[in-house]
């Protein structure tokens, strides 16, 4: 038996619906159709009245989730593509994110954002928006890279009393597989050492974890041992795990699929420089997507985002080899 990243998300939602009567799912085409990616396949039939089709109204979808959360429910809002969440951005960052701070009433809503690039996705079906959400106080932002994390972090997200932006990567939906669902997991807020190494640290998250692991494997052939830190959560950032890794390796490369200006890479480098400058043997480096809209053609897209090859090149540059 094997289970994909997408199936894990479906299973997590089935688990939540089964075990918590306050959970419901609301989003476009999530009902009988089972969602644009089939992340809610058969759930409407299994849980009548709790998997609800929404009109194409991201603002109203997220706003209504805030109202339902105030009433004690735990909505999961599926936005069809992360890119479309900008239409409901106001409700997430101004309504949901400020509710607890302003009123002491928790806002346990989970915003599922199918994120990131896939071949042929183009400018409006490919975006990584984790950093703009992470910028706002009051939100937790998850970026699972594995089947296990997709499952366990989604369950934990819905259980948390705060609004969570759950950035699930579309590139991982179908081809990333695991043998089984996890029995236990690291909590939200903790990073994971995806591969141990002594020569340099790569801090990354989401689909880029796999590009980095591939790069690390290639570098290992030359005897270079790269440590790969999977952030798992980009808000909060597990600074301790990052600093501890840099203390071991003395070198830092940050890799993210999102655009370069600001963002997770900039934040991580800023923290390491501020809190662990003396640990560094070389200036920290970062690789992001190019600072253009995400291109449509697969040949353009193939070099737009970081890849194992560009990560290897950046690693060699950082190691001066």
């Amino acid at each position: 038996m094997s289970i994909t990243y997408l199936e894990a998300i479906r299973e997590a939602q089935a688990y939540l619906l089964k075990n918590d009567p306050s959970v419901y799912i609301y989003g476009q085409d999530v009902g009988a159709f089972g969602g644009a990616f089939k992340a809610t396949k058969n759930l409407a039939a299994e849980f009548p009245g709790r998997v609800i089709d929404a009109p194409i109204s991201e603002d109203a979808m997220i706003g209504s989730a805030v109202g339902a959360a105030i009433e004690g429910l735990r909505p999961i809002i599926e936005v069809q593509f992360a890119d479309f969440s900008t239409v409901g951005f106001n409700q997430m960052v101004n309504q949901a994110a400020t509710l607890f701070w302003r009123t002491e009433v928790p806002c346990p809503i989970t915003l599922r954002l199918p994120s990131g690039g896939t071949s042929g996705g183009g400018p409006f079906h490919s975006q990584c928006l984790e950093s703009i959400y992470a910028h706002f106080p009051g939100l937790i932002v998850c970026t699972p890279a594995t089947v296990e994390d997709a499952y366990s972090m989604l369950i934990e997200s819905v259980t948390l009393d705060d609004p969570v932006v759950f950035c699930e990567h579309k590139y991982l939906y179908f081809h990333l597989k695991a043998e089984s669902l996890p029995q236990e997991a690291l909590p939200i807020g903790k990073a994971r050492i995806a591969r141990e190494g002594r020569d340099m640290t790569i801090v990354t998250y989401s689909a880029m974890v796999h590009e980095c692991l591939e790069a690390a494997k290639e570098m290992a052939q030359d005897g270079i041992q790269i440590e790969v830190v999977d952030l798992r959560t980009v808000k909060p950032i597990d600074t301790d795990t990052i600093i501890a890794s840099v203390a071991r390796t003395g070198r830092l490369l940050c890799v993210a699929e999102e655009w370069p200006w600001g963002g997770v890479n900039a934040e991580v480098i800023s923290r390491v420089v501020a809190e662990g400058f003396n640990l560094l043997d070389a200036p920290p480096q970062r690789i992001n997507a190019k600072d253009t809209p995400v291109p449509y053609h697969p040949r353009l897209w193939s070099v737009h985002r970081p890849t194992a090859q560009s990560i290897v090149a950046a690693s060699r540059h950082l190691l001066r080899i």
Partner: protein, 335 residues
């Protein structure tokens, strides 16, 4: 039960309106005296509509008032003390000095705390109503209050459409007070009447003279009964005039004399006073006694709140999350 206004309810409504008006007047004075941080936004001219919304709601209903709904808030259960604490920045207020003036509420008691983005509260009320339905509750309604300016927002469109699709017991109350800050209605919408918008969404609309308490009361009662009966969202459009600036910083010089002299320019308080005296036989002395009593209450509350002082930024809890351990700025860190 659909209920025409009567002597008892008219008195109750008038007294809320009176308290709201007097509270507004005192807030304006406090603002001019420099006792208030930020702005002061008054509901002068909108009390009849506002109180009719507040009074048609029951415990268990959902209420999202907007900036000129002091009367409705009082009718829905807000205390003068809560209102003043919020406006004067007391840490004991409902928002604990983290938000001010009209941005206040007690969501757990059904009173939503508005954000500044107009139209954004409508879908929040929708969600609360959907949740109540999912939880198996019945007989509830929700009211979201906006001005004509908010009808131009995408949030209004999305939320009214959503309410219609879900057949929610929503009262969407539009106070057409003729100006969104300084923008006249001619630059806000091009349909003949705002109730025309209801047609496009498949919802029932009600028009009402917002300066007349009796009309507002009866219209809100009818609309609420329809909503409670499962007839879906009700759009209520009240025509009135904002008898003050957008905020107290605004002298509203752009409001034309013709507008002030027109039907919408009538003061709902004056009309309500006439209603009580001529139709319900209250004496001028009784009305004066109510006014004195409410002013005394307001002044006592002001004294109390002023003694409470403001928040202490050094001992303040700066954690924005309910899940404290996930806060990136735990208490005690340098900032």
């Amino acid at each position: 039960m659909n209920q025409e206004i009567n002597r008892e309810t008219a008195e109750q409504a008038y007294r809320y309106m009176l308290t709201a008006r007097k509270l507004d007047e005192r807030l304006a004075q406090l603002y001019r005296a420099g006792d208030i941080f930020g702005g002061v936004f008054l509901g002068k001219g909108q009390e009849a509509l506002s109180v009719s919304v507040g009074m048609v709601l029951r415990k268990g209903d959902v209420y999202a008032p907007l900036i000129r709904d002091g009367a409705g808030r009082l009718a829905f259960g807000e205390t003068v003390l809560d209102a003043l604490r919020n406006c004067l920045g007391s840490p004991l207020g409902p928002m604990r000095a983290r938000d001010g003036n009209v941005h206040r509420g007690r969501p757990r008691e059904g009173s939503m705390a508005m954000i500044s983005h107009l139209g954004a509260s409508i879908s929040v009320v929708n969600g609360a109503l959907m949740a109540k339905r999912m939880k198996g509750e019945s007989g509830f309604i929700g009211a979201a209050c906006i001005g004509e300016g908010a009808t131009s927002t995408g949030a209004f469109h999305e939320a009214l459409n959503q309410a219609a699709i879900e057949k929610l017991p929503l009262l969407l109350v539009v106070a057409n007070n003729q100006y969104a800050y300084s923008t006249p209605t001619t630059m806000q919408f091009a349909c003949e009447k705002l109730t025309d918008k209801a047609v496009g969404y498949g919802v029932t609309a009600h028009e009402v003279d917002g300066t007349n308490l009796e009309s507002c009361w009866n219209t809100l009662q009818q609309a609420a009964q329809k909503a409670r009966n499962g007839e879906g969202p009700q759009l209520i459009v009240a025509e009135l005039l904002r008898l003050c600036g957008h905020g107290e910083h605004d002298d509203a010089h752009y409001v034309t004399d013709d507008m002030k002299q027109s039907k919408v320019g009538k003061d709902c308080m004056e009309q309500a006073r006439s209603l009580l005296i001529s139709q319900y036989d209250f004496s001028i002395e009784e009305l004066q006694a109510w006014e004195a009593a409410t002013l005394k209450d307001i002044n006592q509350s002001i004294t109390t709140v002023k003694q409470e002082g403001g928040p202490d930024p050094y001992t303040h809890n700066w954690n924005p999350l309910a899940t404290r351990e996930l806060s990136e700025q735990p208490i005690g860190t340098a900032n």
